[in-house]
């Protein structure tokens, strides 16, 4: 299939699915069939795009101008293709999971729920495949607005409040900081295209001061990257139903944020300009601060989803950290982290949801011994925790390895220490949950009973087990992934190749 055809499909399929869900709204089985069928075809399209990218013929699509100078243009490149594959692939798993969760919980307004989900995936695809900063910004906002109803899904005062914080933070930072940065870039460079080697690197009159301010505007303007102090929307968004937290707040939304930072670092600034931008070091420190502080806050949370949310904040900062190192290993580590953390964190969230559907529990302190009843769920949780911590042979190991390499190569001695501390903190706040649940309770105490007859629906157990297995698979396929991603920052003009780069 031709490249522009594929991109057209990737952008329109989610909308067609949304329309199909609306039409089939009265018959739940057909409605969910539409979702699953659509998600699968979207995944196939994303894989085909990735294949064309790796074959050296990246698909492109030019739609026209919104206004003079503002073009709707799509262009797949390795980073975006990877993000598209991850988001659409996990959407299939998550849709299966959603069916179990939403029906098991007897949630209302399920048609609206699935529709908004499909539109959110459209936003994520647009972010992934955008060919310039303007297109990326547009779909960034589509993603924000389409997920607002999902966060507010329950409709009670609590959900509305969380959703309001979610919307205000993300819209506020994107309009207040990111948009300024985009327009400033346009006026400096005269265009907004993603250029290998960096758009601003080619522009004249980009002084270190201007570059510094721009980088700050980008880094904090992308609220979805959850860099402190703009991280608080993420814990507040946990009022959403768990499938939303799983796919959107571990994969699509937050990864769209860090992906934007990655894109800006590689294609707008370029590694060379990034190195000579002074505010980069400040942002590196902010990212390290976020990693440690968010992990510490996570330890204090007894609510499982809140703990996972803060864990996500910390793990997202890895990506920002890797970009700000401004070396190839750092960028590679960041890219791998997008995929590895997505697989691990979605597992953790889906486990949390399965526990909630079966027992109605949200607090970690109540879950002791629960592994006796739900062994598969907690084993999946255990595996994903190990992956997040970064223990081989699990996917989460590689990004940490590459980031360490990058930190040493760029000469920031404190960064490896932060990464090690972070892993230790991960152990402290993640591992006790599955271990305490799987250990038998003393004195013949019984673990808490099921609230729902029959326990967790089968889909809500199978989905996390599947993604936990993906953590293994990703560990062994990461070499190919590294080769696939390499052209993104490997300017053919640059002769010297970093040693020990690809795993």
């Amino acid at each position: 299939m031709s490249g522009d055809m594929l991109i057209t499909l990737a952008m329109t399929l989610p909308l067609v699915i949304a329309a199909g869900i609306f039409l089939a709204g009265r018959i739940p089985d057909i409605r969910e069939g539409v979702t699953l069928l659509g998600a699968t075809s979207l995944f196939i399209v994303a894989v085909l795009i990735a294949r064309q990218v790796s074959a050296g013929a990246p698909p492109e699509l030019y739609l026209g101008e919104a206004a003079p100078g503002l073009e709707f243009a799509f262009k797949a490149e390795p980073l975006g293709a990877m993000f598209a594959v991850v988001a659409s692939g996990l959407w299939i798993v998550n849709s299966l999971y959603s069916i179990g969760y939403m029906r098991g919980n007897r949630e209302r307004n399920q048609t609206r729920f699935y529709m908004c989900f499909a539109i959110a995936l459209c936003g994520a695809m647009g972010v992934a495949l955008a060919g310039n900063l303007f297109t990326l910004f547009v779909f960034y906002e589509v993603l924000t607005l389409s997920t607002y109803p999902l966060v507010a899904h329950k409709g009670d005062e609590n959900a509305r409040r969380g959703a309001r914080i979610y919307l205000m933070t993300l819209l506020g930072t994107s309009i207040g900081l990111l948009l300024i940065a985009v327009i400033w870039t346009a006026s400096l460079a005269g265009s907004l295209d993603f250029v290998p080697g960096g758009l601003l690197a080619q522009a004249e009159n980009v002084t270190p001061l201007v570059a510094s301010i721009l980088l700050l505007l980008f880094a904090f303007g992308v609220g979805k990257a959850a860099l402190m102090p703009f991280h608080f929307w993420l814990p507040n968004a946990m009022v959403a139903p768990t499938p939303v937290s799983a796919l959107l707040h571990a994969v699509a939304v937050v990864k769209a944020g860090v992906f934007t930072i990655l894109k800006v670092g590689v294609y707008i600034f370029g590694i060379d300009l990034l190195v000579s931008t002074p505010s980069r070091e400040f942002l590196l420190a902010v990212a390290c601060f976020t990693i440690v502080v968010a992990s510490l806050i996570a330890m204090t949370k007894d609510n499982l989803k809140a703990r996972l949310a803060y864990s996500t904040v910390a793990q997202l900062a890895y990506v920002t950290c890797g970009v700000m190192l401004a070396v190839e290993e750092g960028i590679l580590g960041s890219s791998l982290q997008i995929a590895a953390h997505a697989v691990g964190k979605i597992t953790l969230f889906m486990c949390a949801g399965a526990i909630y559907v079966a027992t109605g529990m949200t607090n970690i302190s109540q879950m002791r011994g629960l592994g006796q009843r739900m062994p598969l769920v907690f084993i999946a949780f255990f595996v994903a925790s190990l992956s997040i911590i970064g223990i081989p042979p699990l996917a989460g190991d590689w990004p940490k390895y590459e980031l360490m390499q990058g930190a040493i190569a760029s000469g920031y001695e404190y960064v490896p220490i932060i990464l090690i501390v972070s892993s230790l903190l991960n152990i402290a706040y993640l591992l006790p949950i599955p271990i305490l649940a799987l250990m038998p309770l003393p004195h013949g105490e019984e673990p808490a009973p099921y609230k729902r007859a029959g326990g967790a629906p089968i889909f809500t157990v199978a989905a996390p087990c599947f993604t936990a297995m993906l953590c293994f698979v990703l560990f062994f396929t990461v070499g190919g992934l590294g080769d696939f991603l390499k052209p993104a920052w490997d300017d053919p003009a640059r002769v010297e190749l970093a040693e020990g780069g690809a795993p």
Binding site: E141, A152, I175, G176, I180
Partner: protein
């Protein structure tokens, strides 16, 4: 498209289009007053505004038949200028005329259901007569090339507006003090303007705007010219609701009949801003307005003050119409800010926002009007839960609301993007920061309304609340879709605004 229009229009109509645009509603207004009932007057006003709209399209096609824009000079009654009154259509006012007539036409369509509910039956025909007078006055202001004639049209539209606002008394008695207040302030504004024109006449001996532009540089150090400049600036500033001369606006918008609010919000202040731009750039000229005097340093701070102060005031209103009214004053601030840059990009951004804001506010007030039909209240609490009972009306409202905020893929985003880009190009990055800051305030005041509409349960579910009738929904959705269309493909509108800005700079350069 342009060739097509130019080729199918008969030569006699094409030649007299500037006059027909104004004369048809002028003659139709007294006719409407004598019609036996409101329904006939409504039909007449649809036909008349439709004719004016066609004339505006013909004029636009004529202007755009030449690269860069032709200038059409029409001598009223055959009396050649400068002795006679001249109508002078160029890229700037052909755009404004199209806007006013298009909004006027759409408003006419939805007039009937709204007026039948809000105005007493005996007064409905008179109401449409006043509306046509107001419409005619605004068109005249935009079309004329004579300074005193502009004053006459301004007064015609204003006096008609006082009547229209006061007719809101049937729904809310507070419309009467609002109308009286507007009358007082509006008359002061008009007086200032005519005094200013008098000064210019004393200094140059002509009232024709093109002649004035030609003769003023020779007498530019004359104190009378400066005095005239100041009087005209303040007078038109009052009409345009320039901060801090905007106090009349929120009450007038909140208490007049919904129909009137919709029409005024989308046209009246826009035409006043056009007149201001016309005087600043064409009559006085770029050099005099932006270099020879310090007054321009008032325009920019006033624009910014309006953006900040009135956006804050909008956040704290409890009534939807008042929120939107304060937002209107803030949006006028954006336009003035763009114009005050004195660059082609800035003026183009200001004009683009002028057009887009008319689309936005027209749709918002029309949706509110649609809700007032079945449900009398307009407070924030009254709007709770309407998304469920009136999804079509409220979806259009939401589209326009997002456009007001400046969300991508809407018209509001285009004009804010253009404005911020123009500010950056002039090196005013701090003003750009204020623009985005006030956009965040817009998120707050629109977000409050939209959250109530879509995510809260209604306060008193038993009160009747229905979807607006088709006569409201059709023009409403035309405006809402126009917002999306401009958001996705602004090429046409941006082209018009760029040509208009270019024409202003050519006119100013002597």
């Amino acid at each position: 498209m342009i060739e097509l229009i130019n080729s199918i229009v008969p030569a006699s109509i094409a030649a007299h289009a500037p006059a027909l645009l104004v004369v048809v509603p002028l003659l139709a207004a007294p006719l409407a007053a004598f019609l036996p009932n409101g329904r006939l007057a409504w039909l007449l006003s649809i036909i008349v505004t439709g004719v004016s709209l066609m004339m505006a399209i013909i004029l636009l096609a004529q202007v755009r038949s030449i690269e860069g824009g032709a200038v059409i000079s029409y001598a009223m009654g055959g009396w050649a200028p400068p002795a006679g009154i001249e109508f002078r259509i160029d890229a700037v006012n052909s755009l404004v005329l199209l806007l006013v007539t298009a909004i006027g036409f759409l408003c006419s369509i939805f007039g009937l259901p709204s007026i039948e509910v809000e105005v007493r039956k005996a007064k409905q025909a008179m109401f449409f007569a006043a509306y046509l007078m107001c419409f005619m006055g605004l068109c005249g202001v935009a079309a004329t090339g004579d300074a005193f004639n502009l004053f006459v049209f301004l007064e015609i539209s204003s006096i008609a507006t006082y009547v229209l606002v006061a007719l809101g008394a049937n729904r809310d008695r507070r419309a009467l003090p609002a109308a009286a207040n507007y009358l007082l302030v509006g008359t002061i504004g008009a007086s200032f303007f005519v005094v200013g024109v008098g000064f210019l006449y004393a200094a140059t001996g002509t009232l024709n705007m093109a002649e004035l532009a030609r003769m003023l540089p020779a007498v530019s150090d004359n104190t009378a010219v400066f005095a005239g400049y100041a009087f005209i600036f303040v007078g038109l500033g009052l009409k345009a609701a320039m901060f801090p001369l905007h106090q009349w606006l929120p009450n007038a918008y909140a208490y007049s009949p919904s129909f009137v609010t919709t029409f005024l919000a989308a046209t009246a202040t826009k035409v006043a801003i056009y007149a201001l731009v016309r005087f600043l750039f064409t009559v006085f000229g770029l050099e005099f307005s932006f270099e020879g005097s310090t007054l321009i340093w008032i325009l920019m701070p006033m624009g910014i003050a309006a953006m900040v102060a009135c956006s804050f005031q909008a956040v704290f209103q409890t009534d939807v119409r008042r929120t939107l009214a304060y937002s209107s004053v803030a949006q006028v601030g954006y336009m003035l800010l763009g114009i005050s840059l004195g660059t082609a990009a800035g003026v183009s951004a200001g004009l683009l926002h002028l057009v887009n804001h008319a689309l936005i506010k027209g749709a918002l007030f029309m949706a509110v009007a649609g809700m007032v039909l079945s449900y009398k209240g307009t407070s924030l609490n009254d709007f709770r839960g309407l998304g469920r009972t009136a999804p079509w009306t409220m979806t259009a409202f939401a589209i326009a609301g997002l456009s007001l905020i400046g969300v991508p893929l809407t018209a509001g985003f285009q004009s804010k993007f253009a404005l911020v880009l123009a500010l950056f190009e002039s090196g005013w990055w701090w003003a750009a920061m204020i623009v985005v800051f006030t956009s965040v305030l817009a998120v707050m005041y629109m977000g409050r309304i939209l959250e109530g509409v879509f995510f809260r349960a209604p306060l008193n579910p038993n009160k009747p609340r229905r979807e607006a009738p088709a006569l409201v929904l059709v023009p409403l959705w035309i405006l809402a879709l126009a917002n999306l269309w401009v958001g996705v493909n602004a090429g046409f509108v941006v082209g018009l605004a760029n040509d208009a800005a270019a024409a202003l700079f050519v006119g100013g350069a002597r």
